[in-house]
C-alpha cells in the first residue's frame, strides 16, 4: 500500500500535492483556481506578475514559486487578496496600451479574462500611454508591444523549447521592454518561425499570426464561454508540447 499524498489547506479545504509541486501547481491540478498570468502549465514558474500572491500562515507569498509543504495554511479567495490582485491587474492595464474591443485576442486574452474574473470595472489609475511602435516586418507574425505584460513567456519558450533565443528583455523599471534578437532588432531578421512555441505562447495579444484575424467570432471564444476561474484544471502542470497555448 502506498503512502497517501501529503496535503496543505487552501481556503479551508485540503489540497493534495506531489512533492516538487508549488502551491499554485498543486491547486490548479486539484481544480482550484488561483489567479495568475506569467505562469504557464508547460513552463517552470516565473514569479513576476505576482497575481498568484496568497497568504501562507498569515504572510504574503508568491504561490507559483512557493514549494508546497504538508500542513501549510494557504488563503487565496479572500476579499483582501482579490482587491490586491485587482489593483495589480489595473497596474498592468495602465502600464501598456490595451484596447480590448479592437484587439484580436479579446476573449482569448488572459489579462482580459483575469480582469473580468476579479471584477475590474475601471483602470482606476492614470494611463502612462507609453510609445511602443509595433513591429510588422515579419511576413507571418505581428508584434504589438502595446499589449506586452512582460511575463517573459516568449523569452522562455524561445530559449527553452525552440532553442533559438529570439526574444530578450532590455531596460529596467518602467523602461523594461521586450527586444528581438537580430542585428536590426526587427522580427523579420530573426530566426523565429510561426510554428515556434514562442509564437504561440503569448497570454495577451503581442505575438499574433497575420491574416487569421477574428476566425472565431468574439463572443464564442475561450473565456467568453466560461470564466477563467472555471478552467483551473486546464492550467494544471503538463509536459511541454508543441500544440498551442
Amino acid at each position: 500500500m502506498s503512502e497517501p499524498l501529503p496535503t496543505f489547506r487552501l481556503d479551508g479545504n485540503d489540497v493534495t500535492f506531489t512533492p516538487g509541486q508549488t502551491v499554485l501547481q498543486a491547486a490548479l491540478a486539484a481544480g482550484r483556481h488561483i489567479p495568475h498570468l506569467c505562469y504557464h502549465p508547460e513552463f517552470r514558474p516565473h514569479g513576476s506578475c505576482k497575481l498568484c500572491t496568497v497568504k501562507v500562515n498569515g504572510a504574503h507569498a508568491t504561490s507559483c514559486t512557493l514549494p508546497a509543504r504538508a500542513g501549510l495554511e494557504v488563503e487565496s479567495a479572500t476579499a483582501e487578496l482579490d482587491a490586491e490582485r485587482r489593483m495589480m491587474v489595473q497596474l498592468l492595464f495602465v502600464e501598456g496600451n490595451h484596447f480590448c474591443p479592437s484587439c484580436e485576442k479579446s476573449g482569448h486574452c488572459k489579462l482580459q479574462a483575469v480582469a473580468y474574473d476579479l471584477g475590474m470595472v475601471s483602470p482606476r489609475f492614470d494611463h502612462f500611454f507609453p510609445d511602443r511602435p509595433v513591429d510588422a516586418t515579419h511576413p507571418e507574425l505581428l508584434l504589438d508591444f502595446n499589449r506586452c505584460i512582460l511575463c517573459e513567456l516568449c523569452v522562455r519558450a524561445s530559449a527553452e523549447v525552440d532553442g533559438k533565443q529570439v526574444f530578450a528583455l532590455a531596460g529596467r523599471g518602467m523602461g523594461k521592454h521586450l527586444v528581438v534578437n537580430s542585428p536590426s532588432g526587427l522580427l523579420r531578421d530573426s530566426a523565429i518561425a510561426i510554428t515556434d512555441k514562442a509564437a504561440q505562447v503569448c497570454p495577451v495579444g503581442v505575438i499574433l499570426p497575420k491574416r487569421v484575424g477574428f476566425a472565431v467570432p468574439v463572443g464564442q471564444r475561450r473565456f467568453d464561454e466560461r470564466p477563467i476561474s472555471a478552467q483551473a484544471k486546464d492550467f494544471a502542470p503538463r509536459p511541454p508540447d508543441q500544440k498551442g497555448p
Partner: protein, 607 residues
C-alpha cells in the same frame, strides 16, 4: 576630444583589451562591456556586435544587459560626462543650484549632450559622498564639495578641454571624515592575523574550519548591510552543501542613499575586508571570491587591486594560504554599472554572472545555489571586517559590546543637517539622540535611518536605539532640521525608487512610477485626499506583493512621513475630494518651449 565616432581600430583595441582581462566567458559580459566602454566613452553598435560575437551570446542579450545599467551608454554622452549625485543630502547642500549654473555655463540642458558633443549633464543616484555634498562624477571620477567656485572651476576645465588627468588633484580628493572610533576602526590587527587565528583555533579544538564557523555563530554577528541575518548561520548552511567549489562574495555595492561607511573601509581597511573574506572561505571551504564594487567607487579599484596583489605575494591569497596545503582561495573584483537593486544579494549574483540584476526566486537560497549554481555566501563589507575581528579576538570579546540581541559595534554614515557629517562607530544600542548630539545636529526634526528603504523617525522617537531589535540600519543616518520640507524629501525618495526598480514584478515596476507621479501631482498643488488614500493603498500593495526588498520598502518613506508629517502633505492639497491628474495648461508646455513664449496669451488663464 570628440568621442562621437570612435573608429574601428579604437573599438577593436577597446574590445580586445577587455577580452584580455576577462576572457571569452559569457558570465563576464557585464565586465567586458564596462571595461570596453572606458576608453570609448560609450558602447557603439559595432562594439556590441563584436562583443556578442566574441562571447557567443545573442546580440539581444548584450543590448538587454547594456540597457539595464545606468552607466552603460548606447550613445556618446560627450567627451565629459558630468553626473550630479542626486541624494537629498546633495540637494540640501545646493546641488540643484550648482547644476543650474553649470547648465548655463556649459550651455547644455540637463539630461542632454551639448551640441558640439563636448559635455553632457545629468543626475545619478547617490554616489556615497553625502558627508562632502554636493558631489558629482566626471567620467566616473568623484568631485566633492561642489560649491559655486568649484562648479565654475570644473566648467573652465571642461570648456578648455583639459584632459581629466591634467585636472588639479585636489578636485578629486575624497575625505574619510572619521568622527568616532571604537573597536573596529581602532583595531591594530595586521594582515594575516585573523587567518592565523582561524588556523590556531581549529588546530587547538581539533575541529578545523568548524571552529571558525562556531566562533562567528557564537558572536551572534548580524549582517551589517541592513538585513540583519545571522552571519554564522548563513556560513554554516553554505558549508554543509555537498557541491564545490563554494563562493564568497563581498557586497561592496553600497547603494543605499545616505550610506558611505563602506567607502571608508574599502579605502583604509581593505586588508581587513579581504582578511574577513579569506577567513570566511576557510570556514565554509570556498575557493572562489568576488568583491562586487559599486560603479561609483570605481576610483578605488586600482588601490584595491594593489592590495590584493600584495596579499598574494605575502601568501595570504592564492594557493596554500598561510602555508596551509589545500587552502586555495582568490578574489576577483567586479565593478557595478549603476544599479541600486544589485545591492540585493541574489540580484548581485545575477550581475556577477554578467546578466541584468534581477533578484532571484527563493528557494533555493544562495547558500544552496548561488553563483553559477554553486553554494555562495554574500555579506556586507563591514560584516567581513567584524568577522575577521571575531576570529582574532573571540566571540566573547565581540559580544561584550552592543546589546544582548545586537552584539558588536556599527558604523553609521551621518549626513544632512549636522555640523560634523562623517563616519561614527558606536556600540549597537546607541540612542538616536546621542548620535545627534555627537554630530552637532541642533534642531533636528527627523532622521532617515537606513536610507530611503529604512525608517523615518520623528523628534518624539529620538530616545530610540540603533540596534536590530529597535531601529535596524545598514548605516545611513540622514538628519533633517526644521527648515526641511518632509514632503519634498519623501517625493525625492519616490523618484529614487521609480528610477531604480528593476521592473521584474508588477507591483514594483508600475507601482513605484505611480507613486512618483502621485507625489509630483501633489507637489504641483493638484493633489486631493483621494490621492493620499491611493498612495497609502499602493504603498501597502508594494509591501505585501513585491518580489524583493526594494519594492517592499519603496512605499515606506511615504507611509512614514504621512504618519509623522501629514500636514506637509495636506497643506498642498488642492481640494478635499478628487482632482484630475490631467493638467490642461501643462499640456501646452511643450508648445510654449518650442515657440519660446511664456506670455499670458500662451497660457490657459483662470479667467
Amino acid at each position: 576630444m570628440n568621442r562621437a565616432t570612435p573608429d574601428a581600430t579604437l573599438i577593436d583595441a577597446a574590445v580586445q583589451d577587455a577580452l584580455r582581462t576577462w576572457g571569452h566567458e559569457p558570465t563576464r559580459l557585464l565586465q567586458v562591456l564596462r571595461q570596453a566602454q572606458e576608453p570609448l566613452g560609450f558602447l557603439p553598435p559595432a562594439a556590441l556586435e563584436r562583443i556578442a560575437a566574441e562571447l557567443r551570446v545573442p546580440i539581444a542579450r548584450v543590448r538587454g544587459v547594456m540597457a539595464f545599467y545606468s552607466f552603460l551608454y548606447p550613445e556618446s554622452p560627450g567627451a565629459y560626462r558630468v553626473l550630479f549625485s542626486d541624494n537629498v543630502t546633495d540637494r540640501m547642500r545646493g546641488s540643484k543650484e550648482r547644476m543650474r549654473e553649470m547648465s548655463q555655463r556649459l550651455w547644455v540642458e540637463a539630461g542632454k549632450v551639448s551640441e558640439d558633443g563636448l559635455v553632457s549633464l545629468d543626475r545619478t543616484s547617490c554616489t556615497g559622498m553625502c558627508d562632502q555634498a554636493p558631489a558629482l562624477l566626471v567620467n566616473g571620477r568623484p568631485v566633492t564639495n561642489v560649491d559655486a567656485v568649484r562648479a565654475s572651476q570644473v566648467c573652465d576645465l571642461i570648456l578648455s578641454r583639459t584632459p581629466l588627468d591634467a585636472w588639479p588633484a585636489e578636485l578629486f580628493i575624497v575625505e574619510d571624515h572619521v568622527r568616532r572610533r571604537d573597536v573596529l576602526l581602532d583595531d591594530p590587527m595586521r594582515p594575516g592575523d585573523a587567518i592565523r587565528a582561524a588556523f590556531a583555533r581549529g588546530d587547538a579544538s581539533g575541529t578545523g574550519p568548524q571552529a571558525t564557523l562556531d566562533e562567528v555563530k557564537n558572536a551572534r554577528l548580524l549582517g551589517r548591510g541592513g538585513a540583519g541575518f545571522t552571519t554564522g548561520i548563513k556560513w554554516e548552511s553554505c558549508s554543509r552543501q555537498a557541491v564545490t567549489p563554494r563562493v564568497v562574495v563581498c557586497n561592496a555595492d553600497e547603494g543605499e542613499p545616505g550610506t558611505f561607511k563602506d567607502r571608508l573601509l574599502l579605502n583604509q581597511y581593505a586588508d581587513r575586508v579581504f582578511e574577513g573574506m579569506t577567513v570566511a572561505a576557510y570556514g565554509i571551504g570556498a575557493s572562489l571570491g568576488f568583491v562586487y564594487l559599486r560603479g561609483e567607487y570605481r576610483y578605488l579599484l586600482d588601490a584595491l587591486h594593489a592590495t590584493l596583489d600584495r596579499r598574494r605575494r605575502e601568501g595570504l591569497l592564492g594557493g596554500a594560504i598561510g602555508g596551509r596545503e589545500g587552502f586555495d582561495f582568490d578574489i576577483e573584483i567586479h565593478v557595478g554599472a549603476g544599479s541600486y537593486v544589485c545591492g540585493e544579494a541574489s540580484a548581485q549574483v545575477e550581475s556577477l554572472e554578467g546578466k541584468r540584476g534581477i533578484p532571484r526566486n527563493r528557494p533555493p537560497r544562495l547558500a544552496e545555489k548561488g553563483y553559477l549554481g554553486l553554494p555562495t555566501i554574500v555579506n556586507n563589507v563591514e560584516s567581513y571586517c567584524s568577522a575577521a575581528q571575531i576570529v582574532l579576538h573571540g566571540a566573547d570579546w565581540f559580544r561584550a559590546r552592543g546589546t544582548s540581541r545586537s552584539s558588536g559595534t556599527k558604523l553609521l554614515s551621518v549626513s544632512g543637517d549636522c555640523e560634523r557629517p562623517g563616519i561614527y562607530e558606536y556600540p549597537l544600542g546607541v540612542t538616536v539622540q546621542q548620535v545627534l548630539d555627537d554630530s552637532g545636529a541642533r534642531d533636528a526634526i527627523a532622521v532617515q535611518a537606513g536610507g530611503p528603504s529604512g525608517k523615518c523617525i520623528g523628534q518624539d522617537e529620538f530616545a530610540r536605539r540603533i540596534a536590530f531589535e529597535d531601529i535596524e540600519t545598514g548605516g545611513a543616518f540622514i538628519v533633517f532640521d526644521g527648515s526641511r520640507d518632509m514632503f519634498e524629501i519623501a517625493r525625492h525618495f519616490a523618484h529614487f525608487f521609480a528610477h531604480e526598480s528593476c521592473g521584474f514584478c508588477t507591483p514594483c515596476r508600475v507601482g513605484t512610477s505611480l507613486l512618483r507621479n502621485l507625489m509630483d501631482k501633489i507637489s504641483k498643488g493638484k493633489g486631493s485626499q483621494h490621492d493620499l488614500n491611493t498612495i497609502e493603498e499602493l504603498a501597502r500593495l508594494l509591501h505585501n506583493a513585491s518580489h524583493c526588498g526594494l519594492g517592499e520598502s519603496a512605499g515606506r518613506p511615504l507611509l512614514d512621513t504621512l504618519q509623522r508629517f501629514r500636514p506637509a502633505y495636506e497643506r498642498r492639497l488642492e481640494s478635499p475630494a478628487v482632482e484630475p491628474a490631467f493638467d490642461l495648461d501643462g499640456a501646452l508646455d511643450r508648445a510654449r518651449r518650442v515657440t519660446g513664449r511664456d506670455d499670458p496669451g500662451a497660457h490657459l488663464g483662470e479667467a
